[in-house]
Symmetry: C2
Subunit: 191 residues, 2 copies
């Protein structure tokens, strides 16, 4: 009983199932069969709509980045001062959703695959460029070297996230506190 206009629904279901399956497995060692099963369809249909496994994964990673971006813009919207903008960026980077198993697994494999797959690499640089741009803008009035400090803070956020996400006792708060402390140090002279 083919209902028309299923394509967007199926695609969304597959992306969601992919993220869920990545979270359950903790890695990208997930088969198309598992994903299709969770999404309630056959493997053939998954291939029909996406063309291949790689494209399914790419869509899933893109979705995760889009979700993260939504969280960022929402947090930035509530911030009025430069300082609040910087804090919002940090808070978004260490939001609970970033520590969901699926998100962590996706990020780690994003890193691992960035070295080989150019499309994956493009997704990663997109994220990094946006974060740097946002941080630079936030620091424009409260740092003596917005560019350099933004680069430093961006790398620090990634490093802290890496450690917190991989630690068994997900120490979200400690990581966020460390990032905020660094922000204090950076802006200390102008505050």
């Amino acid at each position: 009983m083919p209902k028309l206009g299923m394509e967007p629904i199926r695609r969304a279901a597959l992306v969601e199932a992919t993220i869920a399956e990545i979270g359950a497995a903790g890695s990208l060692d997930v088969t198309v069969g598992q994903i299709a099963k969770r999404a309630g369809m056959s493997t053939a249909l998954a291939h029909h709509y996406f063309g291949g496994k790689h494209q399914i994964f790419l869509a899933a990673m893109g979705q995760i980045l889009r979700d993260f971006r939504a969280e960022v813009v929402e947090a930035l919207g509530k911030a009025s001062t430069p300082r609040a903008r910087a804090e919002a960026l940090i808070a978004a980077s260490f939001a609970p959703s970033c520590f969901a198993p699926a998100t962590v697994g996706a990020w780690m494999t994003l890193y691992a695959h960035a070295t080989t797959h150019p499309e994956t690499h493009r997704l990663l640089v997109l994220y990094q460029r946006r974060l740097r741009s946002n941080l630079t803008h936030a620091l424009r009035r409260i740092s003596t070297d917005p560019r350099g400090d933004a680069e430093m803070l961006g790398a620090l956020i990634d490093g802290l996230y890496l450690r917190a996400a991989l630690a068994k006792d997900a120490s979200r708060d400690a990581a966020m506190a460390a990032a905020l402390r660094a922000l204090d140090t950076v802006t200390g002279a102008l505050q």
Copy 2:
């Protein structure tokens, strides 16, 4: 023509071949067959000496960490002042050998697998603990908060490495410079 005492030789050859193959592929998507071929033996022999693929990879990652550690202790040996020790740790973390394709690939997959494989996770925390310990010791006399600053610097180093290693134009120098700048900031008050 079985020569005796081949086991350590074969194991070393397999580990070396694994690292080389990871570098060539840029990821852990490497088969036992490829590794064995590069090491000049049959897949059966590789299994005979290591028992399984996972153990071969684990041995290779352990070797990479051991190589890194050797580089660290050598750099630390040449350093006499606390400041020089901190600089040596940073220099070792951004040494050219850390940017060899094989090393980058191994690190990224180490991160990716740490979420699932406990043994891999143990290797990672071993590295992190050592780096933090070394940094804390180096900062003991030149920072007002050696513990906190060591944690921050460690995360910063990881984050900077992550970005530099995955950038097409491997910007080693810039990353190292950023880390040294952060060291300046941290020790500024006591210098």
